[in-house]
């Protein structure tokens, strides 16, 4: 912990601002929430590796459905939005409101691109026959990534409100910087959840000729 970190903190029993402490407690609980969703997806992939059956009754595999280029692009976008958010928080601590606005606009823009990619992906999957109801894979995949997307959408909305609020002149000083930092914590959390989802849900499907989980079909012997 740096000296500057404690020099002007509010007098609380923990030495941590209440808003920040409450946000961390919320993130800890949200971490358990996402941990359970990711665990559920992985365990059901292990139990039901066969993929899904589309509307025509054909057996489909998720490896053939994923678009790794698109997902990699949206992952990169989310990582860079996290970087811009860190710069926005830093600018706010230094009292540079214009720099804060520029960076927050960048975060909002990147967040919207990420959401656009997710909408495109969901639409594509739906038209290919993967729905939330027709397979265990569809249920766990849409619930997990949809919950994450909802978090991103809430974060974007929060930052848009914060951007316009900054023009009222009330978003300044210690409390303003704290408000931005708390919003930044939320945004970074959304980013770290996606880091895990990207590896555990998407990348593992590309391991080996039939993905990490296999196809669930009996091996063909020649």
């Amino acid at each position: 912990m740096s000296d500057t970190a404690v020099a002007h903190e509010a007098p609380t029993s923990t030495g941590i601002d209440h808003k920040k402490l409450i946000m961390w407690l919320f993130l800890a609980s949200d971490c358990m929430f996402f941990g359970t969703l990711i665990s559920t997806h992985l365990l059901y992939r292990k139990l039901y590796p066969a993929g899904f059956t589309d509307a025509e009754g054909h057996q489909r595999f998720i490896q053939n459905l994923f678009n790794i280029e698109l997902t990699s692009f949206s992952t990169f976008i989310l990582l860079m939005s996290s970087f811009l958010m860190a710069l926005a928080v830093s600018a706010m601590h230094k009292g540079q409101i214009k720099s804060f606005r520029r960076n927050v606009l960048g975060v909002i823009f990147f967040g919207l691109i990420f959401l656009g990619c997710q909408v495109f992906e969901f639409t594509h999957f739906y038209h290919e026959g993967l729905t939330i109801q027709n397979s265990v894979l569809g249920s766990t995949f849409y619930v997990l990534t949809g919950t994450h997307g909802t978090h991103v959408a809430i974060g974007v909305l929060w930052l848009i409100l914060m951007y316009f609020y900054s023009f009222t002149g009330k978003l300044g000083g210690h409390m303003g910087a704290l408000d931005v930092e708390v919003a930044g914590l939320y945004w970074h959390f959304v980013d770290i959840v996606w880091i895990i989802i990207f590896t555990a849900v998407y990348l593992v499907e590309y391991l080996g000729p039939n993905g990490f989980w296999g196809t669930g079909l009996p091996a063909v012997t020649k």
Binding site: G35, I38, S39, L43, F189
Partner: protein
């Protein structure tokens, strides 16, 4: 980390923020490089256990890099770090518990009847 609403940031505070600013840029570059390496790795002809181990290590590395630097845990009070680590421990325990439960070859249903 924070400064009062009345006083301008001190030179020491600004120097610290500038130092962090450079850390953020370096970290962002590393995150981009690691993500690129992950994508390349899955297409390389490397044994699956090796790829899986390296992918896991890279993800965990990115995860903790964002938590420690972007989320300021490395600069903040240790209590916040312990709160989050406790949540992560519960997540790992939940995953292990579910894995053990759902991987059981035989579940004696008399306990549920």
């Amino acid at each position: 980390m924070s400064h009062s609403s009345e006083a301008a940031p001190s030179p020491a505070f600004l120097a610290e923020e500038t130092r962090r600013y450079h850390h953020f840029i370096t970290l962002a570059l590393w995150l981009a490089v690691i993500t690129g390496a992950e994508i390349v790795l899955i297409f390389l002809p490397v044994p699956m256990p090796v790829v899986l181990t390296v992918l896991t290590l890279m993800s965990v590395g990115k995860f903790f890099a964002v938590i420690l630097w972007f989320m300021h845990l490395i600069y903040d009070k240790r209590l916040l770090l312990w709160i989050f680590v406790a949540a992560l421990a519960l997540v790992c325990a939940t995953f292990a518990g579910l894995l053990a439960l759902l991987s059981a070859d035989r579940i004696d249903t008399k306990w549920f009847s």
